[in-house]
Structures are given as C-alpha cells and as structure tokens.
Symmetry: C2
Subunit: 266 residues, 2 copies
C-alpha cells in the first residue's frame, strides 16, 4: 500500500440493509435522463423511445455516502442514475479507497453486471440520489428487440473505459495540479453534454477528501492545489458548485483534450 494508512475503516460505510426504501413503479417521466443520454449520440426512433420508457423500473432513494451495489454482489438488475451523483470505488488491503469514476444522471454505472456476474468493485452515491433499477431480463429483452439501443449501451461502456484510460494517464504521468484540473475539466464537459451545466458552472457535490480518493492523493495536498487553482484565477469552488473562470487556462494546465469522451460530433 502506498503508505500505511490508519483511519481505514472510516471509509467502509455501515451496510444499509433496509434497501428499497421507497420502491414503486415509475411514472412515465422518471427515466427520461436515460433517454436523453441514449439520444445524445444517435437520436432514438419513436418506437425505441417508447420501448425504453415502458420498461418496468423500481425507484429508490439513496442517502449520500450509501452503497448502491457492493463488491462481490451478483446483481440481477442494472441501475440507472436518475438524480444525483454516483461513484465507483475499491478499498485496498490497508483500508484506503480508490475512486475509479464519477457518474452523472442518465448513466448506468453497473451495466457490466449484465455480462459479468460478480461485481469487482462497489458503487456508491456521492450525494443524495434517485436510482432506477431495471431487471437484467428486461434489459436483455430491450436489446434483443432494439439492437440499436444495444449498440448504444455497448458504446457507453466503451466510453466509460476510455475515461478510465484517461484517468490512468493522469495518475501515471501528470502531476497533482494537472490531475485535479483535468478532473474539473472532464466533469464540466460531461455535465454540459447532458445539459446539466451552463455558463461553465456546475453542481459538484464532492468533498476534497473524495477528490483525493479519486486522483490518488492526500486530502491535504488536494486542498493546497485547489487553493492554487483558485489563486491563479482558474476556478471557484464552494458549496458544491464549481465555476470555471478561465476555461482555456484550466484546459492548458490540465493538458485536457475532450476527444476521449467521444461526444456527439466527432
């Protein structure tokens, strides 16, 4: 482990087995974020859109910091993030945590469970979140009847992997400043892409400790770097709101090129 961490157990939130706190069948509009997401690359036909909207979905509210799926689980359903932010993580031997991705509304972060029976990581809610659950069976049926949706879902998992690769480059070859700047660039662009950010400003409900676990640094150092970025007039970050003041400057610091996000017009 990178260096012995003591306060390990704090990361492992107590399991909340009172699941399905507010389970119900969706009203029509609840999985619109998913539809928007799918349509953001190729427009859906009337037929396809109806097929998605008609799927049986179970909704659930999750409190900030709670797990949605846990490493070792063998899910029989996929989840769709409808409101709020999610993140994937693993806890290593000494108790320290590595966050591997953040997820925004419309995404299906555990879609892989459709083909990989055992979860090799956990999925948590960053902020209070609304999750939709759809059974694997129904997803499979959807894909069988609507191959284009299947392609879109496969494509999403590929973009997901592309983001992982980009993060790896950051962790291996960029210094702290670039890495944090890069994270901010990415999240802003992704939020913009689904219409959840405008004016270079977005909701970003994560503590510096969470950022530290995502970029593989210590909270203290994240704090110092964030202050630097503020002092340099690149960003403002407070109360879970990120405002990018100097977009070009931030991009330059981050060595950021959004190609890897494979947004619509390539």
């Amino acid at each position: 482990m990178k260096s012995r961490r003591k306060k390990s157990i704090a990361y492992v939130k107590p399991p909340d087995h009172k699941e399905a706190r507010c389970s119900m069948t969706s009203d029509t509009s609840s999985i619109m974020p998913l539809v928007r997401k799918l349509a953001s690359i190729h427009p859906l036909t009337e037929d396809e859109m109806r097929a998605v909207l008609d799927m049986p979905v179970h909704l659930r509210e999750v409190a900030a910091g709670q797990d949605i799926v846990r490493q070792g689980d063998r899910p029989s359903q996929c989840c769709v993030l409808l409101e709020g932010f999610g993140f994937r993580y693993k806890v290593v031997g000494d108790g320290s945590r590595q966050i591997m991705s953040f997820h925004i509304p419309g995404e299906m972060p555990d879609l892989m469970s459709l083909h990989l029976t055992t979860m090799d990581h956990s999925l948590g809610a960053l902020s209070r979140a609304t999750i939709g659950f759809i059974s694997h069976q129904d997803v499979r049926r959807l894909i069988r009847h609507h191959p284009h949706i299947g392609d879109a879902l496969w494509r999403d998992t590929l973009v997901d992997a592309a983001v992982l690769r980009e993060w790896m480059v950051g962790m291996g070859r960029l210094d702290a400043r670039s890495r944090i700047a890069h994270l901010f660039c990415e999240l802003l662009v992704r939020m913009e892409a689904v219409g959840l950010a405008q004016g270079k400003r977005t909701h970003l409900p994560m503590t510096q400790g969470v950022i530290a676990d995502a970029v593989g640094m210590s909270t203290v150092h994240v704090n110092r770097i964030v202050q630097e970025l503020r002092a340099d007039g690149l960003i403002a970050l407070q109360n879970g709101i990120l405002t990018v003041i100097d977009w070009n400057g931030l991009q330059r610091v981050a060595d950021f090129d959004p190609t890897y996000l494979h947004l619509a017009r390539e």
Copy 2:
C-alpha cells in the same frame, strides 16, 4: 506533467507507412487464438466456430515497437493479436508515455473502434507480432448472425475495463513494490488462462523501461524494485522470461485477487 522529461521524442517511433507488409488471406487455422479466447468463457457451437473461422482475415507482421493503430486514426477494421504481445499507450504533452494495457494472443485490443469512430490512444506491438485484420463490416455481420458471439465480444471489452480499474487502484493506492508484483501476477494468470504459460513461467518480452511506463514510475526505480523481488526469492526475470518462484508470496505482496479478470469459473 509529472516532472519535466526531456528525451521525449524517443518514444514516438517513426511512422511506418509501408503497411500491409505481408498481406494475404488467412489459412483456416490462423485465427484459432481468437476462437480459443472466445471459447474460454462459453463453449462455441460448431456453427459459431465455423462462422468465426470463415471470416476473411488479412494477416500482417509487425516488428517490435511498431504501431498497429495510432491515436486519431479512424479504423475501418478491427485487429486480432495472433502471435506476440501488444500494448495500448498515450503520449502526454511533455513526451512521456503511459502504457494502459498489455495484450496477449487471441485478444482484440481495438474492438472499440467498432463503436467509437476515432482512436483515443495508440496500439503498438511489444514484440514481433502477427496481427489479423477483420473489417468492421464483417464483424458486424458476425455479431448480427451470432448474437452469442456479440455478447462474448461485449463481455471482453468489459473485462478489459475491469483490468483498467484494477490498474488504477494500483497507481493510486499501491506502492511501487505492490504495483510491479501485481503486474506480474496479472500477466501470468492471463497467460495461463489461454494456455500460454505453465509451471508459473511465461514469456514476458518487455524491458524495464516498458514496465516503468506501464506502472507510472521511472526505469531506475523499476530496476531497484525488480531486484528486490528477485532478492526476496519471489521471481526470476531474465531474457524476457518471467518465472514466479513464490506464487503465494508474490500474491501477498501484490494484494492480488484475480476476481477482476472474470475468468471462467466464478
């Protein structure tokens, strides 16, 4: 960038535009590695196996260190590694390189190009390699007629992403010793899984510089750690052959748990 590197350009191999050096149609057995790979999870039916073997494949020999596909390309075909090792990488602004994955025979490292038009990274040959190229069109046809093969391919891209996540954990939260030990554990297990290693010994044709670019460290430090691992009686590594002497010990050092590779019997 992590710290200013000078000798950057050395990494960027001169383009070799005399492609297709030895292009020809495959004889029947040439894409067997792919068949073995696909069958390693779910056995293929006679029919499916024939469909794969019947695909038109163009073979090409690639010298060590040459690129197979380059960042920014818009491929119209996928490649299958038939012999030799491949690796994915990106070069950052200051010229330093991050390797994001290694690939062994039977794998299709640029399968994503089927759904993502522009390559967001490059793919190179680690050693002299034989590559089979299959047109996107033919792959799409195969998937349409044989949905189970499509599922297997999707699944492979998901395992690929799982490996990326595991590497991220290493880069973010493990120290140099664990990271290198982890890499050795992973490569050995993957080689064993496709029958290319026995007796805890495998071909591993990579220099310490390549390892360094993969684990995000300097060559010098990789060298020191490898010597440590040797001195501790965990491994032998010479002439491109890795022998794991103390498998349990190495696994312990690496904090290695092969679940994330999602091999057959989970």
